[in-house]
Structure formats: structure tokens, C-alpha cells
């Protein structure tokens, strides 16, 4: 069992172990699972930073179904490595944040572990069916995590979240099956584009994605792709999806639409985002951290891993509209955040705004933009995770989250205020903090892209104004000025556990902000390949 398989199996095993563990020990199991993931993710990202490449590494396959050609194949490229790392990190932080979970700790931590396994499954699976199963499996633990452990309106929020996201991804199932049906039983031979050969071919074994390939000659390289769900193999057949028919449209168009719908709901892009404020507001702090920190990235990841590689033509055709959608999300989310009076909802809308950059970056079709989109996805996990933690901190003390119910907390809680400032500044994209590289690269990508993208980028710069406005205005209302509610003078500053949860994120915000090199080096080759694929899809 390779390290990536362990990242799925171990959390599940630990989740099972919680049922026999003492209640107080469950959190240690959750932490263990998260740290294991973090370790593997960190290892992978270090490997990619040291030896940049767009190939999949740590590939690890266990047979699943010979009839369908599905297998438990795990592997990561730079994108997957970064996301795996994020998943482990944020889960660890969330576990620490929920260290004092006193309602059904075993159930809670078991659910978190199942969630971790599912998220890791999405980020590492190289099998489309496995990807889909993991994708939907994320919903299972999230339903009770919000619905049972959440706040006042948790039932509404949990059900809405569940059904909305489920409805968003049902078409993906149809896409999956249609792809399989569109492959001949005996597989087919395809010509592999040069950039794919360059990125993925294994010269020493004469293989490409595990398939034999003749690299000896100079002509077009061919491989014989078997029928199945291996993502890498499916991506090689992109031309065929373009040619196949699905109820009157091309299979590629339908498939891309299906993936897009699922991903847009998850990201979430407007106007499919309204489950998010409810889920965030009602979820317990640690679950909000997970939701913002990792779950939203699933959507972005899906577009990078499935949407564009499998259906480049459709993606290229939709790209300007999707870039526009990204921009719309950036602005709409920012303005909506500015208008919120609930702290959690405010941070939730800031997520909508920030995730818009990922869409804009990817579909700009530039290396800078696509890399920036992924960097943004990573760093947004850190900053929004931190902001949710801090909202949880004041909620624990005041038992409400109204922005106008606070004021001047910097005096009784100086450390809280400093870290909040850090989180807000990172969210506002201040250079030297983690929020900046992603945004800058996305903007740079949009500016240097073709078509309408420079306009989109120019309008997106408005977000630097708006994000500063809503985050720092919030800071002003919560932390600065005189103490507005005298009883809050007695609020204690961050305690040991809260510090343990917040400081790693705060430190990472600075470290990644100052030195994003390794992250970008790990991400860039993979993103470059995505961009080449996308550009290859242009007519």
C-alpha cells in the first residue's frame, strides 16, 4: 500500500477505531489521520518543488473492477500534492479547533475522518469513478456535521447544502457512464499530443500512463488506451469525446457542462453559491474551517483535473463566459460581504469573492493565471480557515456573531486582534502575505490573456479595494475603537488551544506569502499542462 492509498485507508480505519476508542481519545485519532495526510502531502509537494514536473507521482493502484476497468488508482501531480497538503493541514487545524468537542466526540471525529478520507480521495484519485465516488462521499459526513452539530438553523442549512450539491453533481454520473459507453470494448488507439508525451512519457519503461508507447521514432506517438475510467487515459481521448454524440449535443459539450455544474456549485460560483452562507453560518467553527479551507477547493480541483483535460474544446469554447463568471463572483461576493452583518456570513461571501479568482485564472488560459488560480485555492484555504477560527473565538465568548455586537476587542484580546489583522490583510491580498501571490498571478494571467480577459482582469482589480473595505471595516468594527460592550472587557485572549490552531495558519500565511516559490514550482508544470490542453482546445 503506497502512501496515497494510506491517506484514504488510514482515516477510514481510524474512523472505525473511534468506535472502540475512549471518547477523549477520538480527537487524537482524528489528529493522527490529519497529520498523516499532511505528512504525505508535504512530502509530495517537496518532491515536486525539488524536481518540477507535470507527471503523476506516487502512483499506486489496486484493482477494483475488471468489468468496468475501474481501479483504486491514486497519484498526484503538483496540483494534487498541494491540495492533499491543504487537506491534511486544515483538518489538523480543525481538529485542534474542535478539541473540546463535548457532544458525541467519537461520532464527530469519526465523521471528520471519513470526510478527510473522502477529500483525500478526490484530490488523489486518478480514476474518474473513484473521483466521483469520493466527490459524493464528501457529502455523507458533512450532512451530520452541519445538521447535528450545527447552530440554530442547522437543519435548513444541512439539507440545502446536501441537496444543492448533490443535484449539482448528478449529471456527472451520466457523463461518467457516457464516456465509458463511448469507448469501444477493446479500447482504442489514440495519437498523443506532443506536450503530453513530453510531460508524462516514461522513457525508461517505454510507457505513458502505464501504457506501452513507442518513443523510438520521431512521428506522432500512438498508444492503445483500454476501456476504463483512468483519468489519464480518458484525457487522451479528448478528440473522441468531441466526436461522440450525447442526445443531440457532443459528448464533450455535455460532459463539460456536467463537470462544470458540479464544480460551480462546489466552488461556489454565482449564482449557484447561496448554499454557502447558510452552511457556513450554521456549521460549527471547525466544520466551517474545513468547508472553506478544503471543500470549496474540490470544485476548483475538479475543473483542473477533469473539466479541462477531458473536454478541452468545450472548455475553450466556454472559457470567456467562465472568466466572466469568475469576475462576477469576485465582485458580487465582495459587495455581498460588505453588506453582511453576521461575521461568519461575511467570511463566507469573502470566500465566494476569492474563489472567483480561481475561475478567472484557470480560464484565462495562461500559465500565470492557471497557476495563480491554484495558488489562490491553496492560500484561500489558509486565510479563510484562519478567519473562521477567529470568528469562532469570539463566538465562543459572546455567543453571537453580529458585527455590531462587538467593538474594541483589541484591548482585551490583543493577540486575537493581531491575528485577525493578519488574516484580514492576507484576505485583502497584501503582498508578503499568502493572499497576494495567487491574486497577482491571476490578474497577471488575465492581463496577458487574449480576448476579453484583460477587461475582466481590469475589473477584477476592483476587488483589491472591496476586499480591503469589507475586511478592514470589519476589523474596525470588531477590534478597534473604544470597547462598545463593557462586558466584553473581561473576554480572555486566545487560550492555548486556540493559539495552537491559529498560529500555524498565521505563520504559514507569512511564510507562503514571502516564499511561495516551492508551491508555485510544484504547481506550475501541472498547470502549464492544463493550459496547454486548454489552448489545444481552441479552434
Amino acid at each position: 500500500m503506497g502512501p496515497l492509498t494510506a491517506c484514504i485507508v488510514a482515516p477510514l480505519a481510524l474512523a472505525a477505531a473511534t468506535s472502540v476508542a475512549p471518547p477523549r481519545a477520538a480527537r487524537w485519532l482524528a489528529l493522527l489521520g490529519a497529520l498523516l495526510t499532511l505528512l504525505v502531502g508535504g512530502m509530495a509537494i517537496a518532491d515536486f518543488a525539488a524536481r518540477p514536473g507535470a507527471d503523476f507521482r506516487f502512483v499506486d493502484s489496486t484493482p477494483w473492477s475488471t468489468a468496468f476497468g475501474a481501479s483504486f488508482t491514486f497519484g498526484v501531480d503538483g496540483i494534487g500534492a498541494a491540495m492533499l497538503c491543504l487537506s491534511g493541514l486544515i483538518t489538523a487545524i480543525a481538529t485542534i479547533a474542535a478539541w473540546q468537542q463535548d457532544k458525541w466526540p467519537r461520532v464527530y471525529h469519526a465523521l471528520v475522518l471519513v470526510l478527510l478520507a473522502a477529500m483525500n480521495g478526490v484530490f488523489t484519485s486518478l480514476d474518474l469513478l473513484l473521483f466521483y465516488v469520493s466527490w459524493e462521499m464528501v457529502l455523507l459526513p458533512m450532512l451530520p456535521l452541519v445538521g447535528v452539530f450545527g447552530g440554530e438553523q442547522r437543519r435548513y442549512a444541512a439539507m440545502k447544502f446536501f441537496v444543492y450539491t448533490l443535484a449539482g453533481s448528478v449529471l456527472m454520473l451520466a457523463m461518467l457512464i457516457a464516456l465509458w459507453n463511448a469507448t469501444p470494448r477493446e479500447g482504442r488507439s489514440v495519437v498523443v499530443p506532443h506536450h503530453v508525451v513530453a510531460a508524462h512519457a516514461d522513457a525508461s519503461h517505454g510507457t505513458l500512463h502505464g501504457l506501452p508507447i513507442d518513443l523510438g521514432h520521431d512521428g506522432p506517438k500512438q498508444v492503445h488506451v483500454p476501456r476504463g475510467f483512468d483519468l489519464r487515459h480518458l484525457a487522451l481521448q479528448a478528440e473522441h469525446w468531441q466526436g461522440a454524440n450525447f442526445l443531440g449535443v457532443t459528448l464533450a459539450a455535455f460532459g463539460f457542462f456536467a463537470v462544470l455544474l458540479a464544480c460551480l456549485v462546489k466552488i461556489p460560483a454565482i449564482p449557484l453559491h447561496t448554499w454557502l452562507p447558510h452552511a457556513h453560518v450554521q456549521a460549527p467553527t471547525a466544520v466551517s474551517v474545513l468547508l472553506a479551507g478544503v471543500l470549496l477547493k474540490l470544485g476548483v480541483y475538479g475543473l483542473y483535473r477533469i473539466g479541462v483535460p477531458l473536454f478541452p474544446q468545450a472548455a475553450a469554447a466556454w472559457a470567456p463566459a467562465l472568466g466572466g463568471l469568475g469576475l462576477a463572483g469576485i465582485l458580487w461576493g465582495a459587495w455581498a460581504a460588505l453588506g453582511q452583518r453576521d461575521l461568519k456570513r461575511l467570511v463566507a461571501y469573502s470566500s465566494v469573492s476569492h474563489m472567483g479568482f480561481c475561475l478567472l485564472g484557470l480560464f484565462s488560459g495562461t500559465v500565470a493565471g492557471a497557476t495563480g488560480g491554484m495558488v489562490q485555492a491553496f492560500t484561500h484555504g489558509l486565510s479563510s480557515g484562519l478567519l473562521f477560527l477567529l470568528v469562532g473565538v469570539v463566538y465562543d465568548r459572546a455567543h453571537h456573531r453580529r458585527v455590531d455586537g462587538f467593538g474594541g476587542l483589541a484591548r482585551p484580546m490583543p493577540q486575537f486582534a493581531w491575528i485577525l489583522l493578519l488574516g484580514a490583510m492576507a484576505g485583502a491580498g497584501l503582498p508578503a502575505l499568502a493572499g497576494f501571490p495567487g491574486e497577482f498571478l491571476v490578474l497577471g494571467g488575465a492581463f496577458t490573456a487574449t480576448g476579453s480577459f484583460p477587461w475582466l482582469g481590469a475589473l477584477a482589480t476592483l476587488s483589491v479595494v472591496l476586499s480591503a473595505a469589507y475586511l478592514l471595516w470589519t476589523l474596525l468594527r470588531v477590534a478597534y475603537g473604544p470597547l462598545r460592550h463593557p462586558e466584553q472587557a473581561a473576554f480572555p485572549d486566545l487560550d492555548g488551544r486556540e493559539r495552537l490552531a491559529a498560529w500555524p495558519l498565521a505563520v504559514l500565511l507569512v511564510v507562503v506569502g514571502l516564499w511561495p516559490g516551492p508551491l508555485v514550482d510544484a504547481l506550475r508544470p501541472a498547470c502549464e499542462l492544463v493550459v496547454q490542453t486548454l489552448q489545444g482546445g481552441r479552434p
Binding site: 477494483w64 473492477s65 475488471t66 468489468a67 468496468f68 475501474a70 461520532v107 469513478l129 466521483y132 465516488v133 459524493e136 462521499m137 457529502l139 455523507l140 450532512l143 451530520p144 445538521g147 447535528v148 442547522r154 437543519r155 444541512a158 439539507m159 446536501f162 441537496v163 448533490l166 443535484a167 448528478v170 449529471l171 454520473l173 451520466a174 457512464i177 457516457a178 465509458w180 459507453n181 463511448a182 454524440n245 450525447f246 442526445l247
Partner: protein, 485 residues
């Protein structure tokens, strides 16, 4: 005797015979005095079902005259029906309150099982109809099993009257088919169709199909289901919502593979018509379930949708593996559905009803059972990696394979898309139950502690849970079933 053995090859129907023996054993045990002896009923039935299952594992194929055909679908149906009978008996065995541990209950359950076996193996309209009647008659008694209960009585009455009417329509149709073709056996009818048969045969087939549709709770003959399920004990629902579906689906599969009325209606049109009916049922059920306020009614509408999914799979016949997909769908449905109903049985006993209001906050009384109920419901909703997903996977795969391959079958693919739509919509109705059971607080805060759950029930739940979780990743299961046929 020898002549009888020649005419009636017992070796082919050993499992049915074993179950029959079990039935008589239960009846015999029930005759004796004393309450304790009565409790032997379920266990005798379980033993018989398991023996029959063992016998069915490696059973030969063949035909019993023109009446029964022990072919692939039949053997597969046995493998589904027999463990299911055992599971249903096991679930009832621990429960004293409503007498589900009694010989009478066990007799009825085994009777339904026997009827299901007969129907599933039937290659003749008479045997099919007799099997269905057997199912029905035993089922009526299960539904109305709670003596003196107004709702159970009403449910029983509606069930029997509705069933009677359907039975009448079906018979009338069969008689027309017979009249038009001169045959009652499927093969003969198929032969007659191949030679060209009058319109009356088509009309008769449609009427006969009403009987099958009724057992599969297809719209518009599904009407009895919500009311009947709501009024009857959950374990009774577990029986009448599963076994008849398996039986009817198997019979349908056999009929469609033996006797397509080709000259009357080409295959694409027939498949499309079936797919349209199935899609209509799914959509109707998923939308109507949204406004239900009783868990068992929601289960009923869920059953309507799931039955339709099985029918959609049969529309893909004679495509390769379509029958296996239907079988696998039933397997996953049965596991989760029985599990959910056993949970509801436990919760209903604790809370006094299956209305969503009564169930509110039942996690306080039975946290584990409540959690399991949610698991089963989510499986029914088809969320991966639970069993329901794979069932759906198989059916969709068949429908898309048939529908995307040629333009004349495009309706199948459209129906599959509608199936997905219905899935998304119906998720909400399952969540209504989940919300009541684990998200909500009890109406009366003091009501904690729901009593213990009998061991047999726990065992049944465990089996269902293992099936629900374990089948979910058994992607090769479809291939295994296909091979088994």
C-alpha cells in the same frame, strides 16, 4: 409416482420445495400448545430459507413443463428472495409486541416468499398469476396483522380491494392474450407473435402488464402503496415492498426476453414506452414524496421510484447485462429498504408512530438505530459509496448504453437523465426523515430511553448495514450477477 417424478422434476425446484417444507413445519409448530413453542416459527422459517438458499446456490437449469422455467433470472431471483426471507424473519423474530415472532407472521412471510419464488420462475401466465396471488394473499394478512388497529385494518382493506381489481384486470387481459394466441405460456405466445397476432393480443398484454406494474408499484397503479405502507407495521412493509418487486421484475424480464410482440410493435417503441412509463413513475414519486409527512409514506414513494428504476433496466432488454443490472438494483434496494424499515420498526415502537412529528428527535431514544436509518435512507437516495449508488450505476449504465448507441433508443437515455433528476429531487424527501430523526429535538424533552433492541433485530440491522456499506464498492457485483445468469 415415477410418472409424477418424470412429469415434475423435483430436482429443479428443490429450493422451493425446501421452503414449502419450512412452511408446513411452521404451521405444525404453531399447532402445539404454549406460547414459547410459537416462537419457533421464525427460526424454522429462517432455517428453511437458508437451506433453500444453499440448495439454490448450485441449482441446475431447466423447465417444469411450460409452467416454470428455472433459468438465469429465476436462479438469480432465488438468490435474492431466499436470504431476504431469512432476513425478514430474523428482523421479526425478536419483536414480541406485534407478534412478528409468531408462527402466523412467519407463515405469511414464508408464504410471500414462496409466492415470489413461483412468480419469479413462472414461464406461463397462469403460474405467474398464481404466484402473484399467493404473494398477495399472504401479503394482505401481513399488512393487517395488527389486530384491532384502525389503520392496519384500513390498510388491509385498501390493499385487498385494490389488489383484487388489478387481479381482475390482469386476468381479463390474460384471457384475451390466450384467446388471441391460443397460448398461455410465454414461449408459445412469443411464437404466436412471431407468426403475427391480432391487436387483441396487444391489448390483452397491456392489461396483463397492469398486474406486473402493480407489483412494481408503477404509476398509475401505485396508489395503494402509500396508504397501505402507512397503515401497516414496518416489518410488513418490508415484506410487501420487496419480495413482490423481485418476483414481478423477474417475471417481466423473462416475458420480455421470451415474447416480444415484434410484429405488433417494434422493439424500440416498446422499450421507449416502458422507459417513458418508468420515467413518469420516478418523477411522480420523487416530487410527490416531497410533501409527505410520514416516514412510511416516504418509503412508499421511494419504492415507487425504485420499482420504476428496475423497470427502466428491463426496458434495455435484451441488452447484455440489463437483467443483471435490474437484479443488482433490487439487491441494493432490498438491503437498504429492509434496513430502513427495521429501523423504523424500532423507532415506531419507541415513539408510537411513523409520522415525522412523532419521529422527531428519536436519536435521543435510539441513537445508533437513528444513525443507521439515516445511512439506509442515504443509500436509497443513491449517494456513493453506499449500495444504492451502485444499483443506480448499473441501471444508468444500461440505459445510456442502449440509448446513446442508436437514435431510435434515445428515449432510454432521456429517461436515464430524468432518473437522475428524480434522484436529486427525491434526496430532499429522504432528508425530511433524516431531519426529523437525527437533526430535530423531541417534541417532549423528557422522552428519552426507547427500551432495548432485541438481539435478532440488531443482527438483522447489522446484516443490512453491512450489505448497504459493503455492496457500495462491489463494482464487479454486476459482472458477477451477469455471469451467474
Amino acid at each position: 409416482m415415477i410418472a409424477f417424478a418424470e412429469a415434475f422434476p423435483l430436482a429443479l425446484v428443490r429450493p422451493e420445495a425446501a421452503l414449502c417444507v419450512g412452511l408446513f413445519a411452521i404451521l405444525a409448530s404453531d399447532l402445539g400448545p404454549g406460547a414459547d413453542r410459537r416462537r419457533a416459527g421464525p427460526w424454522l422459517g429462517i432455517a428453511a430459507a437458508l437451506v433453500a438458499f444453499l440448495l439454490a446456490l448450485d441449482a441446475p437449469s431447466g423447465a417444469v413443463g411450460t409452467m416454470l422455467a428455472i433459468d438465469g433470472p429465476a436462479r438469480l431471483a432465488r438468490l435474492l428472495i431466499l436470504p431476504l426471507v431469512a432476513l425478514l424473519l430474523l428482523a421479526g423474530a425478536g419483536e414480541r409486541r406485534h407478534g412478528t415472532d409468531s408462527g402466523a407472521w412467519s407463515t405469511a412471510v414464508v408464504g410471500v416468499g414462496l409466492g415470489a419464488l413461483v412468480t419469479a420462475a413462472s414461464a406461463n401466465f397462469v403460474s405467474a398469476w398464481l404466484g402473484l396471488e399467493m404473494l398477495a394473499l399472504a401479503g394482505y394478512s401481513l399488512v393487517a396483522f395488527r389486530g384491532g388497529d384502525r389503520r392496519a385494518a384500513e390498510a388491509g382493506m385498501k390493499f385487498v380491494l385494490f389488489g383484487g381489481v388489478v387481479s381482475g384486470v390482469m386476468l381479463f387481459g390474460i384471457s384475451h392474450v390466450y384467446g388471441a394466441t391460443g397460448h398461455l405460456d410465454f414461449a408459445g405466445i412469443g411464437q404466436a407473435f412471431a407468426n403475427g397476432a391480432p391487436t387483441a393480443a396487444g391489448v390483452g398484454l397491456l392489461l396483463a402488464g397492469v398486474g406486473v406494474a402493480y407489483k412494481l408499484t408503477l404509476v398509475p397503479v401505485h396508489f395503494y402503496a402509500p396508504d397501505v405502507y402507512q397503515g401497516s407495521p414496518p416489518l410488513g412493509v418490508a415484506v410487501v415492498s420487496t419480495l413482490p418487486k423481485i418476483a414481478a421484475a423477474t417475471a417481466l424480464v423473462r416475458f420480455l426476453s421470451m415474447a416480444v410482440p415484434a410484429p405488433l410493435v417494434d422493439h424500440a417503441t416498446l422499450a421507449s414506452a416502458i422507459a417513458v412509463l418508468a420515467a413518469a413513475s420516478m418523477l411522480f414519486a420523487s416530487f410527490t414524496a416531497l410533501v409527505q409527512r410520514d416516514a412510511k409514506r416516504i418509503i412508499a414513494f421511494s419504492g415507487i421510484g425504485h420499482g420504476a428504476a428496475v423497470v427502466l433496466a428491463t426496458a434495455c432488454l435484451p441488452a447484455r447485462d440489463a437483467a443483471a443490472a435490474a437484479g443488482f438494483y433490487l439487491l441494493t434496494y432490498v438491503g437498504s429498504n429492509v434496513g430502513a424499515l427495521v429501523c423504523l420498526s424500532v423507532l415506531e415502537r419507541a415513539t408510537g408512530g411513523s409520522g415525522l412529528q412523532a419521529l422527531a428527535g428519536s436519536w435521543r431514544r435510539h441513537p445508533v438505530v437513528s444513525g443507521l436509518l439515516c445511512l439506509f435512507l442515504l443509500s436509497l437516495a443513491g449517494v456513493p459509496p453506499l449500495a444504492g449508488f451502485l444499483g443506480k450505476w448499473g441501471v444508468l449504465q444500461q440505459a445510456f448504453a442502449a440509448g446513446l448507441g442508436s437514435a431510435t433508443y434515445a428515449t432510454l437515455a432521456t429517461a436515464a437523465l430524468l432518473f437522475l433528476l428524480a434522484t436529486a429531487v427525491s434526496a430532499w424527501s429522504y432528508l425530511l426523515v433524516v431531519r426529523a430523526v437525527v437533526f430535530a429535538e423531541p417534541a417532549t424533552p423528557s422522552a428519552a430511553g426507547g427500551g432495548t433492541v432485541p438481539f435478532a433485530t440488531k443482527l438483522a440491522l447489522a446484516i443490512a448495514a453491512v450489505a448497504t456499506v459493503g455492496l457500495g464498492l462491489w463494482l464487479d457485483g454486476l459482472a458477477v450477477l451477469a455471469k451467474a445468469m
